[in-house]
């Protein structure tokens, strides 16, 4: 997994609350057993003018030239709720997003982000709103810099904002650690557990 240390990128604001993964990528856009090539389906119900078409709606934030190369998404509360489809993260990553900043994330989506090296960063609602406002209303330079090691976010519009993030998540992102490898290294620890558990809960083992 690609490590995440620092990122400087354009931040695109999409401050709707409860954006669900069906909206991030509609099921109809998942056309093959693959993690690749999903960018065209990202926000398909919103970024195109008509259902099933590919005619960009100029009002949608990612279709505006200022945000077309965005690498950070500023999002609303409970972002990524609904379906567990990891395609939502794969589509965002395929589009070029490496970080999403929101007041909160739905739990499965949050974990899917981390497992793909995408930073899901929680900041207070007022902070996210102020960032979006500076970029959209005040037309500030939309570039933000995230320093995960120092846990700082900075930009022209905002100055430096300190944040805190779960220590395990931070380490995994900084070092690009695959959680599966972490567990595989410990598997022999399990032998004693299984031996005991088979005695205590034989009904578990089919």
């Amino acid at each position: 997994m690609q490590p995440f240390q620092t990122l400087t990128a354009v931040a695109a604001p999409l401050l709707r609350d409860n954006v669900d993964t069906d909206s991030i990528i509609p099921s109809r856009e998942i056309k093959s057993v693959s993690k690749q090539g999903l960018a065209a389906g990202l926000f398909a119900g919103w970024r195109y003018r008509g259902a099933g078409e590919r005619d960009p709606d100029p009002d949608f934030v990612l279709n505006q030239p200022r945000f077309s190369a965005a690498g950070i998404l500023l999002a609303g509360d409970n972002f990524g709720c609904g379906s567990s489809r990891e395609h939502a993260v794969w589509a965002l990553a395929d589009q070029g997003f490496r970080a999403i900043i929101a007041p909160s994330f739905a739990p499965i989506f949050h974990d899917n982000c981390i497992n793909n090296g995408v930073l899901a960063l929680c900041l207070p609602r007022a902070t996210v709103a102020a960032l979006a406002d500076a970029i959209l209303t005040l037309q500030a330079d939309p570039h933000l810099t995230i320093d995960l090691d120092r846990q700082e976010l900075s930009g022209v519009a905002t100055g430096v904002i300190a944040f805190s993030i779960d220590a395990d998540v931070r380490l995994r992102l900084l070092e690009g650690l695959d959680a599966i490898d972490l567990s595989l290294r410990r598997l022999t620890d399990l032998d004693a557990f299984y031996e005991r558990d088979r005695q205590e809960r034989p009904w578990v083992y089919l």
Binding site: R16, D17, N18, D20, D22, S23, P26, S27, R28, E29, I30, K31, S32, V33, S34, K35, G45, A51, G52, D77, N78, C81, G82, S83, S84, R85, E86, V89, S104, A106, P107, I108, D111, N112, N115, N116, D166, A167, D168, A179, I180, L182, S183, L184, R186, L187, D189, L190, F193, Y194, D197, E200, R201, P202, W203, V204, Y205, L206
Partner: protein, 452 residues
């Protein structure tokens, strides 16, 4: 289990896969040469993309859909895991068949790359939805790393009125506390109204925990649970059953247990619920009106956006809104008791002219049981299509849909924009409310059609 700093490392007792998200997990393992640990505790079903029209094959209306089925089948066979294939007598929606087969048991850890895995928490299991990468993790190691979630107890107290059930409880909860009201929490549903629910209704309630953003929903196992599980295919038998039962009786939360958060809801006056917007939190009584922004529990922007999508106005009476379609099925409300409830309403009646109505049983067993009881004849006589089991129109996979801008009353779980098809306007409700609405051609209070 072992823990140090950071997340706990927990053993996973059951992994379930389906062709939509499990396929890619199996392929991911194969590409990295990682074998599955615990193949005997790993199961796979074909439910998400499979066609539900009679006489189905691997072909689906979804572009590319066949590939999901054939590659899942090949990967499952190669891995040596039990597959409930398209034509298997036990095929069905994962969260319907797992309990039906006795695979979901009290005290187990159960995962599936599907957000509605929380359904299975109703038996007193710790069951939660994960992504495909986490599924690979569970398959390759038999474990997952998990931060201990905060806890929340939701008590439903009182007596449910006629035609008011688990779906209405869940919509009441989410509408009152918001779609993020249980975010990341392990939720225990408790209280007198929950105790009185039968097992199938408990699955419905726990199913909707993910619409409350909970990591799981669970109900303390009791005699209702045990009599449901007794004798099921994969449930323990004989002496092991007795030992299991003794263990399961110890699983309930202690009387004085402290939860991080407590919610209590009085249900005596609860009415059948229906959604009016594009989030499950946009719900109100079927006798009510589309709320004004101030009463909507949502931001002005979300409120305006939802009403624009739904083509509704604040103050509009919900029980007069015309509909185009009705759908009964899903892991939320596709069980035999759901079909019986709808059939009671439909019996001897016909759906309104111009309405398209479908019933898609939650599993092949549910379908056979319904046919044995003659429910299929009631559905068909009323004007419903009678289908093979699967997820079907709970979500739009690019195949069948109800049409742009069509309005559907649906026994499913999500009324998101475009969830059931581009522009489709979804109103979530109980199977009885769906049936009553189909008959009258508009959103309806089932109690006006049926005496208790």
């Amino acid at each position: 289990m072992a823990s140090g700093t950071g997340p706990a490392w927990i053993a996973i007792d059951r992994v379930f896969l389906h062709e939509r998200t499990g396929s890619i997990a199996l392929e991911g393992l194969r590409q990295r040469g990682r074998p599955i640990r615990g193949t005997a505790r790993t199961f796979c079903t074909i439910d998400h993309i499979v066609d539900t029209r009679p006489g189905r094959t691997d072909e689906t209306l979804m572009p590319g859909g066949r590939e999901f089925i054939t590659r899942t089948r090949a990967a499952a066979r190669e891995a040596g895991i039990r597959l409930f294939d398209v034509t298997d007598r036990d095929q069905g929606i994962v969260h319907v068949i797992s309990p039906e087969l006795g695979l979901a048991l009290p005290g187990l850890t159960i995962v599936c790359p599907d957000s509605h895995t929380c359904t299975q928490g109703a038996v007193g299991a710790f069951a939660w939805g994960i992504g495909s990468t986490e599924a690979e993790h569970a398959l390759a190691t038999g474990t997952l790393r998990l931060n201990k979630p905060a806890t929340q107890r939701v008590r439903f107290e009182g007596t449910l009125g006629a035609w008011v059930g688990a779906k209405d409880l869940s919509l009441r909860l989410v509408s009152r506390w918001g779609a993020a009201g249980g975010r990341g929490k392990a939720i225990e549903f408790a209280g007198s109204a929950v105790r009185s629910l039968d097992m199938e209704a408990r699955f419905t309630l726990c199913n909707m925990a993910t619409e409350f953003s909970g990591i799981t929903g669970m109900i303390a196992p009791d005699d209702t649970t045990f009599s449901y599980l007794a004798g099921r295919d994969f449930a323990p038998k004989g002496e092991i059953w007795e030992r299991a039962l003794a263990n399961w009786r110890t699983l309930a939360s202690d009387a004085g247990a402290a939860f991080d958060e407590e919610i209590s809801i009085d249900v005596d006056d609860l009415e059948p619920m229906i959604t009016w917007g594009t989030s499950p939190q946009h719900a109100t009584s079927v006798t009510g009106t589309v709320p004004d922004v101030n009463d909507s529990g949502t931001t002005p922007e979300s409120h305006a956006r939802a009403l624009r999508y739904m083509d509704l106005q604040p103050g509009e009476r919900l029980a007069s809104v015309r509909i185009d379609a009705a759908f009964i099925g899903s892991c939320t409300n596709g069980r035999i008791s759901d079909l019986r409830s709808a059939a009671r309403v439909l019996n001897g009646r016909k759906i309104a002219p111009g309405i398209r109505a479908l019933c898609v049983p939650g599993s092949s067993r549910v379908k056979r049981q319904a046919e044995a009881e003659g429910l299929d004849r009631i559905f068909r006589a009323a004007g419903f299509e009678w289908r093979e089991s699967g997820c079907s129109l709970c979500f739009y996979a690019g195949g069948e849909d109800l049409g742009l801008g069509k309005r559907v009353v649906s026994s499913t779980n999500r009324n998101f924009e475009g969830r059931q098809g581009p522009g489709t306007r979804t109103h979530i409700a109980s199977p009885a409310t769906v049936a009553a609405s189909a008959i009258l051609g508009h959103i309806a209070d089932v109690r006006t059609l049926q005496a208790a």
